[in-house]
């Protein structure tokens, strides 16, 4: 077993200094809920860990300049209990409330979920669905913005360089015409890893004016389902639309994983998730139909 060292910056300035000397053996720790299990099981890591949890400047949820801004160390509990998140970015609140267990949600962070880039991550589809961006800071203090889909490259692969860290998530503020929802299915009802998850955001007027549909756990990374989005746009909300939407989702599974063994399970499972999404998005209409 090799030595490790843990740096515990208390401010962004201190973090910048540690990042400026980061190398291949430097690891950034958010809540650490994935990292610590891996470290304990395999003892694979040696080098320097930079723990972000002591930086109070990175723990916030606020509105500013047309965005809901979420600090990197904001936990899933913070997100799922925040009124701004639950009312204006419903799919993010729902995704956050379904991550792991109470204990995990109390530690795991939104930036950690993005950076870890699991194909089963719950918050990634929700954030992508709302066109969220991430703010990345490097060891020189330079800050850049990227879309969430640019950061996530594949299974546990992200675009971050060794001296870069996610410091903030930015979600564009939408008006009340927009509504979103997130649903998932796993092997148990709680503390479950998604076998399939979906986030949908719609702008609803007389018809559906805009649609964003993101599917996770159906490939190496979450992706926008263009065929599902197209089937919703400019359509009136009725039972026929729901049927078409479900057929398109099923077709999307066929396209995404044509030869995988899990295809037959997922093409059925996605119908159940679709029902849940429809119920969340159109509860009032659904009751009338």
């Amino acid at each position: 077993m090799n030595d490790i060292m843990i740096q515990t910056p208390q401010t962004l300035e201190e973090l910048k200094n540690y990042l400026s000397i980061a190398d291949e053996s430097t690891y950034i720790l958010g809540g650490g809920t994935d990292f610590i299990i891996n470290m304990n099981k395999n003892n694979v890591y040696d080098g320097t860990f930079i723990d972000l949890t002591g930086i109070n400047e990175l723990n916030y949820i606020k509105k500013e300049n047309g965005f809901i801004k979420i600090g990197a160390t904001t936990t899933f509990t913070d997100l799922s209990e925040n009124e701004m998140i639950t009312t204006e970015t419903q799919c993010v609140a729902q995704a956050a409330s379904m991550v792991g267990s109470t204990q995990i949600r109390n530690c795991a962070t939104i930036a950690g979920n993005v950076a870890n880039a699991s194909q089963a991550a719950d918050c990634i589809p929700a954030l992508m669905c709302l066109n969220a961006k991430v703010k990345i800071m490097n060891g020189k203090g330079i800050v850049i913005e990227k879309n969430v889909e640019e950061v996530v490259l594949g299974i546990n692969k992200n675009c971050l360089k060794k001296d870069e860290v996610i410091v903030e998530i930015l979600i564009p503020i939408k008006n009340s015409d927009y509504k979103s929802a997130f649903c998932k299915v796993g092997s148990r009802s709680s503390v479950t890893i998604s076998k399939l998850n979906i986030a949908v955001s719609l702008k609803i007027g007389q018809v559906i004016e805009e649609a964003s549909v993101v599917i996770g756990s159906l490939g190496e990374k979450a992706f926008h389902s263009t065929i599902c989005e197209e089937c919703l746009i400019n359509k009136e909300i009725n039972e026929e639309l729901f049927t078409t939407f479900k057929e398109k989702l099923k077709y999307q599974v066929d396209l995404a994983i044509p030869n995988r063994k899990s295809k037959s399970y997922k093409r059925e499972a996605i119908l159940g998730i679709a029902d849940n999404i429809i119920e969340k998005l159109f509860w009032n209409c659904y009751r009338r139909l």
Partner: protein, 160 residues
């Protein structure tokens, strides 16, 4: 390389020189000697290692010791005061919510964290609070009943 850290566990301050690989669970059991907190799955599935950190239930197997520096921790040993069991512990005994007992410390700490935040939880909120705690003996019903009884006990104590 060792790291110096301070931590408050059950209202006692400790200054420890720890191996940075150690988890909160390891220092509670090995360095502080409080073995009530159990190690089960070591990957956040079973909740046997649950403790309260700054008023929130956490899996101590998923927190590095250093991440708990300067934080306030409550373990199952911190529930009883002046030799008297906490209302939750009494209710667990009254309702026979304990069989083999391995999950009990974690279960108690998840329930305690809930009651610290919400003195009047619904049955659904209790079930959600213990969703990360596995029990293979009692089937959960008695545990939920025990929490409901503890809430009544606490309310009655407050009225006195």
């Amino acid at each position: 390389m060792q790291m110096l850290m301070e931590i408050k566990v059950n209202e006692n301050k400790y200054r420890l020189d720890v191996n940075p690989r150690k988890r909160l669970l390891d220092i509670i059991r090995e360095d502080i000697g409080l073995t009530g907190t159990k190690e089960g799955c070591s990957e956040g599935e079973c909740g046997a290692c649950t403790v309260i950190m700054n008023n929130r239930a956490v899996n101590s197997c998923m927190v590095l010791a250093v991440q708990a520096r300067n934080k306030e921790i409550i373990t199952v040993e911190g529930l009883a005061k002046n030799g008297e069991l906490d209302a939750l512990q009494k209710a667990f005994i009254n309702k026979a919510a304990v069989q083999c007992g391995f999950c009990t410390p974690g279960m108690l700490m998840s329930c305690k964290a809930l009651i610290m935040k919400n003195l009047n939880p619904t049955e659904e909120e209790i079930k959600r609070a213990i969703e990360g705690n596995l029990c293979r003996c009692t089937g959960y019903n008695k545990i939920v009943e025990a929490v409901l009884e503890a809430i009544v006990m606490v309310s009655e104590e407050e009225e006195l």
